[in-house]
Chain length 460, copies 3
């Protein structure tokens, strides 16, 4: 099928090596919802796959929200002016960009430790890690530091500087589209707003890039149009959704990707409806993953990443989420310990293999109609069946019989594979053979609707 | 919520003490389908809560039945006229009103033991207990006695007297109504026809009285109108149903109460449809009862108390039943051993607490609609969400997200609580906050229909 | 009910003895898709039950297929002309009719062993058994032999003769119809095309004959019309289906019977839809079979016997399959070891008992409507209920209450029995009593539709 090439261990390993190189390049950049760090990130991605970039002006409405001002930071520090402090930087943005709370307003002041304390964030339970904190929508400023360092702070005074701009500008996102035979689309969204955090979400960005590259380079045109979106969390998906409402009716499936490099097993989180095409395909594919580290299926919940927006009731798209360890479930989450040592090339490679199979299933799925539905058609005279009777049929004949029997126009190949308890690929192969023999055709629309989507009305 | 006041152990204990006092007052009275014993019972209830009484004349049709003649008994005995018998009463109605089969026709005769035997009822397996027997709809008479006493009877002759009237009169029932914001109703029915039996059903009567009293005294008007009915079993509910057919379309939920004082755990029996509002609310609330004595859910079956009538196919109301030990499942059932020693104040109190929570859920439940359904609305600017990002949301924020995500007008708060695996109260609190913030409104009708009621046609 | 007479061990044993006699008579005949062996088989059946025979000319279309030429074989052998071979028959059709591949074209040649080998079939894993092979739809010829004998063959040359005709003629099938009160039908199909194989399918033929005979001799007319079809596998059912399309809308239930004499437990295979009347009745009846050898339910799959055709998507009939060991699951399947020693009269008898109960349930099932649906009707005044109250109702009263409560026209007796967890027979008895009392009538159509058939459109 479409991405069979990526399924081999060698191919997935090579792609994971490329992903790793991208992660290393992106790690030092200071990303946020907006700003030049994001633009540099998109530059790196654009060097690998075709990318169309969009800059949305601050103040533009996006659903219930509006695009915030653009944030750019040059430097920031807390310098000890106290006795023996020597003006030494006790917290230094140049050492780690997590030290500054994202979207901090500019500040330049001299303060005592007591005055400073309300602006400090640290993790008593993990005294060597710097936490990641932001304040996108309320004007404030803050520093994040190791708790161990915080406890060493003297009474001050301190020079406190955040040399940043928070001013009208733009929000940047980018899309990479692989046109298919159909205008119907699969969405892949990954968030680009986190600064130096490796698993969350350089792993997601890099895996998405490799998947998109494989689709761009696939020997055949995909059946569906694939759209990869690289944008900031929440406000990025809201911006894209509000600018693309007319397109949403064509979204057949979708995935939010993130957190794909850590040692945990894969977790697929269902879409809001719970039985969309994406959900059914993911359940089918993930059942076949590594028996020693079997993937897990999670029910939908309205907390997480951008699936929150895609699955809000007014959109209710067939968008699920694939991660390894889910957000908030591991200690290093949203701390400086989410660095390159947390992620592993082999985990990126295995995620890519699973995604390649999932993408292939989503793309090859279709709803077949048996053109000779009364009784079984004669397969023997069409060269599809052994000529000596009396023995049991083989696996391929079995798949042929299942497809013919179930192809009444009410089920797609995925549903047939599930009922027959056969791998999708075997059912798809049988369907292709029957199509060539003139016994089967795909019903319109060529691309299977989400089977339960008939229950849905139009977008409000 | 509505009856939060009754949830504390102190409040429930005080209410249970009042219930106990009522039970003690009612225990000696000889009740039956009709008669002055019922009227005295309703007098006692009416001294505690507002009560509107109805007297239905004998002969009035009630569905397939008709109101029977009224039965009143003054005295009854079997006196031994045999050698050494001395005219001594060997069975005496004045000692226990269970001694006479309910609705026995008057008799005054002298008979041998052999002639008397077909009229005697006793329990060989429980020789010290008097059974409870009735013959409402066939003219006969009988005595119930301890098997141990029956075995001691000499050959007679005996003087056999039942000094009773069975004559045209009335059937008495009474209602206590707490008007709500809506005309939609919750029914609570409890049977008043059993003579000196404590669990069945003075416990049900007394608990219903305390629940009604709490609703009458609640600081806020309930959303729904609550209707408590005190009437005899079977013919009482049939009489009420046949006189109130035009009202039945408004019944949103309902409970038959009985057998609430014995040591058994609570049992909720589903309504005929099995997924009505009452069923869903009871399942939700009972899941949260005492972990050491968890409540049990029973499937519907057409045997039991007045739910048989409410759940007959021509009415098919959303009426379930709450008891402790179900009828027929304990040895003392329908015998003189169902006396005050079988029931316990603590069991009455715990039943009241569960009922208070269940009533509060039924009353607060509603179907919310998210007024900002495209993407998540900005909770932060409305003061509903913390302003520093990066950490996980708390329980209240979680509930806010669930309500917003699910509030598409197809689910009530109870369904949202079930899907979110959150307590109803937490979901209701979140919904109220969102309503105050203008992000949510309740869809019409304000009171949630039983979710599956759309499948139902009108009453035939 | 209808076939209660066959439920006793004595009656079933006698019927099984008759079945055994028929099997012994039919075993030596050489059957195939067509030909005189089939006609002789139908002669034997016709001597036991009324039979209407159909002869379909070769070349007649049957769905996607056409009726093949008729095959008749007189003799066949491989004679050893080699040194010391003496012209001795090393393979001889007169010894076992499995020796010739079914539908072999005529041949008369002298060949070496090397030339002969591609035409030989044997079973290395079972060297003493002759395999059963056919080539209905491709012109070829072959011999089947014990692998032990094959290994002893010298280099030849051999005289190879198949004295057969493959020429325009007819396909023969036969029907036995028991007219019912209704034109609605139950189909029973059993395949007649296998040569000397006892379990597959003389067991099925003989059990079908005994079931048909019991229905023909039943003291009352069945409610449904029962149609037994004896025809070859695949092409026989296709021929019948293509000639009876206008009749298919009347098919309420159906069974393919086969493989009923081996030592295995009974297996019911669901119809394609999985919840048809046949499926529900079989699940109910098979749950009650021998606790020491409980029957098993199998999901539908499109491999097996003639249910493949009845359950093709263009017909999609309510036809399941009853066998003991399913095809292909035991070693002797389709070999000469499937002889009389594989099957047992007691297994035939037990299969007949189960079928008698299943047939009775299918025939007695109907959809009742409570004519007094508001409240419970007074059963006591109609003589259906004990007159002294206070005790629990008995099993019959329980069944009465269940039927009355559920009889809203949306459920048949089988569904009521399942919900009430009562045996169908008890529910049917209660329904009959309520019908006699004027409290219940059967809704039109008198014969229950498959409950989910409303979802189905007309045949395409």
């Amino acid at each position: 099928m479409l991405l069979d090439a990526l399924l081999s261990d060698d191919a997935a390993g090579a792609a994971a090596a490329d992903a790793w190189a991208l992660i290393e390049a992106l790690y030092p950049l200071c990303r946020s919802l907006t700003g030049d760090g994001v633009r540099q990130t998109l530059d790196c991605i654009g060097a690998r796959i075709p990318l169309v970039r969009t800059e949305v002006p601050s103040g533009t409405p996006a659903c219930d929200w509006e695009i915030p001002r653009e944030w750019n930071i040059r430097d920031a520090w807390i310098a000890d002016l106290g006795p023996g402090g020597d003006g030494h930087r006790v917290v230094d943005f140049r050492a780690h960009n997590l030290h500054v709370m994202g979207y901090s307003v500019p500040v330049r002041r001299t303060m005592t430790l007591d005055e400073l304390q309300p602006h400090l964030h640290s993790l008593p339970d993990h005294p060597d890690w710097i936490p990641y904190r932001t304040s996108y929508y309320r004007e404030q400023w803050g520093f994040c530091l190791r708790h161990r360092d915080r406890e060493r702070l003297g009474p001050g005074p301190y020079e406190v500087v955040i040399d940043a701009d928070l001013a009208p500008g733009h929000l940047s996102y980018a899309e990479s589209v692989i046109p298919g035979e159909s205008d119907d689309e699969v969405l892949v969204y990954t968030h680009t707003c986190h600064p130096s955090l490796a698993n969350d979400n350089l792993s997601g960005i890099a895996v998405a890039v490799e998947l998109a590259r494989a689709l761009h380079q696939a020997p055949t045109k995909p059946r569906l149009t694939w759209r990869f979106i690289f944008g900031p969390g929440t406000i990025g998906s809201l911006a894209w959704l509000s600018r693309n409402e007319e397109r949403l009716g064509r979204v057949r499936a979708g995935l939010v990707l993130g957190l794909l490099g850590d040692p945990g097993v894969l977790h697929y989180k269902h879409s809001r409806r719970g039985d969309t095409l994406t959900d059914r395909a993911a359940a089918h594919v993930l059942r076949g993953t590594d028996a020693h580290a079997p993937a897990k299926l999670l029910d939908f919940e309205p907390y997480g990443y951008d699936e929150r927006q895609f699955c809000s009731p007014g959109f209710d798209l067939a968008v699920g989420r694939l991660t390894r360890s889910p957000n908030s479930t591991y200690a290093e989450y949203h701390t400086s310990a989410d660095d390159l040592s947390l992620i592993r090339p082999a985990q990126l490679a295995a995620a890519l293999q699973t995604l390649a199979r999932l993408a292939s299933v989503l793309d090859a799925n279709r709803t077949p109609l048996n053109l000779s539905p009364k009784g079984e058609p004669r397969l023997g005279k069409r060269g599809l069946y052994g000529s000596v009777g009396g023995g049991a049929p083989g696996a391929f004949e079995h798949a042929l019989l299942w497809v013919l029997n179930q192809a009444d126009g009410s089920r797609d190949l995925l549903a047939i594979a599930e009922r027959a308890r056969l791998p999708f690929e075997q059912v798809e192969q049988a369907a292709s053979a029957l199509e060539r023999a003139g016994l089967l055709r795909t019903v319109e629309p060529a691309v299977p609707e989400d089977l339960d989507s008939r229950k849905k009305g139009p977008l409000p």
